[in-house]
């Protein structure tokens, strides 16, 4: 299954070893740190779960099958949360390696959903993709313009 980190209405920003994801559709923010950020960055570099698991295991000195299993579980949870999607992967970045120190810590994302109230108050961002449908038919608009 090919995976992409390019998800519509999901903004991502990397800050050193952290990744912040903002879902503009539902107002939920996510913080990925440590191994969670490295897994997301691995996917962004177009690595498979197995490649990410192997690279993290090499960096932390843990055994590959165990790490790969946990990477797979985290990828599944990101898929379920809509932080990644099935689709055309990003271009491969050959220089990618995970930046981790010390023992492997299970990946998890922090979820911030205190913005729902804001979304309800200011609904401009609910403005779908159908553009700006005019209320009047073209003939009526033209007729109105001609009358002026």
């Amino acid at each position: 299954m090919a995976l992409t980190v390019s998800v519509p209405l999901l903004i991502s920003q990397q800050f050193d070893s952290e990744v912040v994801l903002a879902n503009y559709q539902n107002g939920v923010y996510y913080n990925l740190d440590g191994s969670a950020a490295q897994i997301w960055l691995g996917l962004k570099a177009n690595r498979t779960v197995e490649e990410i698991g192997g690279a993290i295991a090499a960096a932390t000195g843990d055994d590959v099958p165990s790490i790969t299993q946990r990477v797979q579980a985290f990828v599944d949870s990101m898929l379920a949360e809509g932080l990644i999607a099935e689709g055309t992967p990003e271009p491969r970045i050959e220089t990618w390696t995970p930046v981790l120190s010390g023992a492997f810590v299970a990946p998890e994302f922090q979820r911030f959903d205190n913005l729902r109230e804001l979304l309800l108050m200011d609904p401009v961002h609910d403005a779908g993709e159908e553009g700006w449908p005019l209320r009047e038919t073209q003939e009526k608009v033209d007729q109105k313009v001609d009358e002026r």
Binding site: L118, A127, L134, R135, E136, V141
Partner: protein, 330 residues
Amino acid sequence: MKASDLIRQEIARVFAKTISQPVEAHARCGPFGLRLGFASQDLSGMFLPAYIRSTPSTIDLDLRFITAADHDLSALVPEAAEKPRLLIEDGIYSVWQPAVIPVLFAVDLAAKRGIAWLPNGEAPPWIRSRPAISLIHALMHDTPWCAVHGAAVGNDTGFTLLAGEGHSGKTTAALACTKAGWLYAGDDFVAVDSETGRIEPLFCSARLRPALVDTFQSFIGDTTAVSDFNGEPRHELSLARLGDRIGGGKLRATFIPRRRGAAVPEFTPAKQSDAFRALLPTTAYELPGWPNEIAAKVAKVAGLAPVFFADTGTAPMEIPAAFARQLERL
């Protein structure tokens, strides 16, 4: 006819119909010079107090405030008018905000002409305090400038950007510093150059909660309006009489106010990502369009200066000295 063509045509028609307006003024808004035209005294009374008046200079946007009684722009109201809309097409940026009290903002970016159309002749209080900010956002597209949700005040050491959600204490801290003689750049939205860290005020308004009225009584004038929306009363301040003390400067630090029970102001180092999360949500949701560009600019702003959580304590007038000490330490 495409929607953008119709909007462009109607903007031109608004400007052709009346060369001059009953009330006209010049203002500076971030890095831009505005010429403002109001179709009535009522409209100028509603919006002009929020603007930083200036002498006529470069006009980056000629902006007209009009109602349905002045111009019938109902043809521009999109289908399913109860839904908000955003259009960015062929040099036209337009926002339809139907919630509570409907307002239509549109700008022809090539002609540098914009309209704020109020079908009912009125606007929600938060729109009156930062009029047509979405159009300023559109002017900032493809520039390093960004309107960010935050307060900003400065002294000789530099400016601090106060980032955080509503009720976090931004207004309290900004007004306390202003009362202590600092420069005031805004309590809600300010303009920041994401490359240089230059901060400029967008408006000279501030929205004061009843609990703070006693502390900041000196900012309340005889004509200060009190709005009450959803049971949340606010004194709608115009700080225009601060004169030259409404101004900008270089960002020195970003503070994220929060109330954690400290008796006196306390600072805790924070990360660039904390500033990003504090700045982006309201910035992005209040300014429709170009979300990736906004996020990239806000990320840059978040990385321009050291970031601290600031527990602002229980005595507002202790904030200025604490902020000054913290800025001097950097």
